[in-house]
């Protein structure tokens, strides 16, 4: 690569790492959090740069613009660490080590700064000291809500759970969520964290600070959030699977059983999840009641749902179903036959006069987004539907959209625990699958009953059976979405939402 014609390399030359420009590009394109795999990449160019720490190690904040031939441009954030060799950081492995460059003073290592505790701590300092750092075309702005001590013994550790973000945790203290993709405009997650924090809602991790990137005079974009660490936490998904393993092991011992025996099995289960599900229902209700605060205004203000909104939901849901039905996949065939019955679930919305309130919701609510701690359930990741655009994620909706997402998640847990246990041709598959369905139903009921009990007497939901009508519409809508998602990503899983839709339309 000719250095003099590569603008990115020219800007990196002042740090002696121009030779790593190609390595950085290819590393970015193969990182797990890179979201443009299905598109044709036209250009990867260094977009902005700031020095966060001059040496030992050098820490650079870099933004990279990715242009596609067939999609809108994206911007990725990549904090770089630079150290001279030899250094133990060279053992990081290909996931974090980007390249090595021969420089005048010797060989330099270029790597993901989040993976080096001494480099990553510089990000904590940005928040602790409320630093504002000039970048080439903008500035980075650190803020904190509580005192942050960068000097504690617990050093930052990059977790191995990257998706669209990276997570760096300090012992039992705090948790930095680093956005890999920088999106201009207000951050849904920061907005929600601040709103819930102001309302003293205790079931989210407390917000400790945040780092924003502002290009020119534009609106600040969220770069990172610092949250309280959730001590002794376990993901709801993991906990549900623990309960299901206990159930399936008992079901295997009992052999094939009747529906009644399966109910008894679930009801008498030692590893029962129903208490947890009920507490989750209560916490979910409290989240929604906090977000239904009449004092909230602007994009957060709760809105009464009348016939027009209900009809609009029904139209949107029907539209999504019809888009799915245009797919030629043979798995869809049974749904096509049942289209009319499915649409009646949506049309039922049109008969309601009052749909309760539309509020800001979690938007991507499932068992993976809730953490069991010694203080009960905590809810995380308020980013909304990951694929949605910012404005869509800020759209107010029925709280039952969240509830429906969580209820659907129980089905997925039952299926996932069964899949890890045996293959579908196993002679016990049907017996266990029925036990899993009984488990999911019992836990759905437990969550729903606790949710209703907590919101009773508020304006959040319409009275009586009308709430169930809305819940069913959102559940069916969610399952329709799941069928489409699974066909595109995990065809082996399409049976999970399909079974639900077939059972809903007998």
């Amino acid at each position: 690569m000719a250095l003099n014609t590569d603008p990115s390399a020219m800007r990196l030359e002042q740090f002696g790492i121009a030779g790593a420009t190609g390595d950085i590009r290819s590393w970015l394109l193969r990182a797990r959090w890179f979201g443009g795999r299905q598109h044709r990449v036209a250009l990867v160019e260094l977009d902005d740069l700031a020095v966060l720490r001059p040496a030992d190690p050098t820490v650079l904040f870099t933004l990279w613009r990715v242009d596609y031939a067939d999609a809108p441009t994206e911007t990725y954030s990549l904090p770089l660490g630079i150290r001279p060799t030899p250094h133990p950081i060279a053992d990081l492995g290909a996931d974090h080590l980007i390249g090595t460059v021969a420089a005048a003073a010797g060989t330099l290592l270029v790597y993901d700064a989040l993976a080096d505790p001494e480099a990553a701590i510089e990000l904590w300092r940005m928040l602790a000291e409320e630093r504002e750092v000039e970048t080439g075309s903008g500035r980075l702005i650190g803020r904190h809500l509580v005192g942050i001590d960068p000097g504690i013994a617990d050093r930052p550790r990059l977790l191995d759970v990257e998706q669209s973000n990276s997570a760096v945790v300090r012992g039992h203290v705090d948790f930095l969520k680093w956005s890999r993709r920088i999106e201009p405009g207000p951050s849904v997650e920061l907005e929600m964290a601040q709103t819930l924090g102001e309302r003293h809602f205790a079931h989210v991790p407390a917000l400790h600070g945040h780092l924003s990137y502002r290009r020119g005079a534009g609106a600040p974009a969220l770069q990172a959030l610092l949250h309280a660490y959730l001590h002794n936490g376990t993901q709801g998904w993991t906990l549900a699977l623990t309960s299901l393993r206990d159930l399936y092991a008992s079901a295997e011992e009992d052999g094939a059983g009747s529906a009644l025996e399966r109910w008894e099995l679930v009801d008498d289960q030692g590893g029962s999840f129903q208490g947890e599900a009920a507490r989750l229902g209560t916490v979910t209700a409290e989240l929604h009641l906090a977000l239904a605060d009449p004092a909230l205004s602007g994009v957060l203000a709760p809105e009464a749902v009348g016939p027009a909104q209900l009809a609009a939901w029904a139209d949107a849901m029907t539209g999504q179903l019809d888009r799915l039905l245009t797919s030629g996949d043979p798995a869809i065939a049974p749904l096509r036959e049942r289209r009319e019955t499915l649409v009646t679930k949506f049309d039922a919305l049109r008969r309601l006069g009052n749909g309760g309130l539309a509020i800001r919701v979690h938007g991507d609510y499932h068992l993976g987004q809730v953490i069991r701690t010694d203080e009960g359930w905590k809810i995380i990741d308020f980013e909304g539907e990951p694929a949605g655009e910012v404005e869509a994620r800020r759209r107010r909706s029925s709280p039952l959209r969240d509830v429906a997402g969580m209820l659907r998640s129980f089905d997925y847990a039952a299926a996932a625990a069964l899949t890890e246990r045996m293959r579908p041709h196993d002679p016990l598959w049907h017996h266990l699958s029925a036990a899993g369905e009984a488990w999911a139903l019992a836990n759905r009921d437990a969550l729903w009953a606790a949710y209703l009990e907590r919101v009773d007497g508020t304006a959040l939901l319409p009275m009586g059976g009308d709430a169930l009508v809305i819940r069913r519409a959102f559940e069916v809508n969610k399952a329709v979405y799941e069928v489409g998602y699974e066909l595109g990503h995990r065809p082996g899983w399409v049976g999970i939402p399909l079974r639900f839709l077939l059972a809903a339309t007998p």
């Binding site: 013994a153 376990t234 993991t238 623990t242 309960s243 393993r245 092991a249 590893g271 208490g275 010694d374």
Partner: protein
């Protein structure tokens, strides 16, 4: 405590709900009602009377002179009653205990112990330790921990246990320690759990209604875990390593059973099974003369479960437990160390650190009936070697990466974290 009316202290709850309907009972001889927090054949003493207090202290002196090590203060929250209160944990009660402790310290020096039996939440019980200026009890039973250990095992997850430990306040005096136990001579009490948790415990551990008593379960350790040796070992592994002074109930060290057909709490109070001789070696009396019959069933009876036989077998419950008690006694960290639960990635694994001065011990328990892996963040001990404390086996050195352990079903480890040259 006499009264012409039953309408006093009406906010005091009835504890033995299975047998009593009121805390007052009429006495024809006195022509008055008398006060009793427990059975009607157990009238309460009037501690407002200074002569009663003096007499109680004198009785304590008598036994201390005989040479006993200390007292278990039975039902200590209920010494006094006052209108307008629930008649529990009143300031007058604390004042009397502080007075008793002062007498003990002044007249007998150290080495004698007051142990509070207050079946309350830890945040209330902690008051029975008193303060450095006015100390009360040396040890307080930690009641809510016990049912939660059973709940954690049955649910195969640690949260029932870690929640209550998180809720347990710090010890207020240097001489204070919690008394922890798995079972005792009373029912496995479920007063300090939620209604939902109580229903769950009854369903899981007291399937036969005869097993219930008041708000509890009248069963011994071994039958509660279906005589599962691994479960019992896991329970003892936790009992001997959690913060607190472990207290064992007689017979549980050999895995004795219970007799749910005996009335009230007698089911867990059958004669100690010393040997396979007559009456389990407990008494030479004729069988018919015994107050309670020894167990004779084929699984738990004295012919199969007894001390003599277990002494002869290296692998018996008794010998196993003796070895663990010996390990615990060798290391001050178990008695004095701080406690910190660790963030295990696997909810079935309950891992914690005990640290005293420069000695750290890592305890890892698998609450599941299946084998489980767990990754622990032990970076702050990077470079140290976990040494399994029973066999002195050296495990791989701790490094920056999460430390991976695999546990057998209901398995557990105690590791001493040591720097190796």
């Amino acid at each position: 405590m006499w009264s012409d009316t039953k309408n006093r202290y009406t906010d005091a709850r009835i504890i033995f709900v299975d047998t009593e309907t009121s805390n007052w009972t009429w006495d024809d001889g006195a022509g008055a009602y008398y006060w009793h927090r427990f059975f009607s054949h157990q009238p309460d003493l009037n501690y407002d009377n200074p002569k009663v207090r003096e007499e109680m202290v004198d009785i304590c002196r008598f036994w201390l002179d005989v040479g006993i090590d200390g007292f278990r203060l039975d039902a200590v929250p209920y010494l006094y009653a006052r209108d307008g209160t629930n008649c529990e944990n009143l300031p007058e009660t604390h004042a009397f205990i502080a007075e008793l402790r002062a007498t003990l310290d002044r007249e007998y020096g150290g080495g004698r112990v007051l142990l509070a039996e207050a079946n309350q939440w830890p945040e209330d019980v902690v008051d029975y330790f008193g303060t450095e200026e006015s100390p009360e009890c040396h040890v307080c039973f930690h009641f809510p921990l016990m049912p939660r250990i059973f709940m954690g095992l049955r649910r195969e997850q640690r949260y029932p246990i870690t929640e209550i430990l998180e809720r347990t306040p710090a010890l207020p005096t240097v001489s204070a320690q919690w008394g922890i136990f798995l079972r005792n001579h009373d029912e496995l009490t479920l007063e300090m759990v939620t209604d939902e948790e109580r229903d769950y415990m009854w369903q899981e551990y007291a399937r036969d209604p005869r097993m219930k008593l008041n708000l509890g379960i009248r069963r011994r350790l071994a039958p509660l875990v279906n005589n599962g040796r691994r479960q019992m070992e896991l329970f003892y592994g936790m009992l001997l390593s959690l913060p607190g002074s472990p207290i064992l109930y007689y017979g549980d060290e050999i895995g004795m059973g219970d007799n749910i057909y005996l009335g009230d709490r007698d089911g867990v109070r059958t004669p100690m099974q010393w040997s396979a001789d007559r009456n389990g070696g407990f008494s030479h009396a004729d069988f018919a003369q015994l107050y309670l019959p020894p167990l004779m069933d084929p699984v738990y009876g004295y012919q199969s479960v007894n001390v003599e036989a277990q002494r002869r077998s290296e692998t018996s419950m008794l010998q196993w437990l003796r070895r663990f008690v010996a390990v615990r006694r060798r290391w001050p960290v178990f008695g004095l160390g701080s406690f910190e639960s660790l963030n295990a990635t696997n909810p079935s694994v309950f891992a914690y650190l005990r640290v005293h001065e420069d000695h750290a011990v890592l305890c890892v328990n698998n609450l599941s009936r299946f084998a489980q892996p767990v990754e622990l963040d032990l970076r702050r001990f990077a470079g140290m070697t976990p040494v399994e404390m029973l066999g002195k086996v050296h495990f791989p050195k701790i490094r920056e990466l999460p430390y991976l352990l695999t546990l057998a079903p209901h398995g557990f480890y105690w590791f001493s974290l040591e720097s190796m040259p």
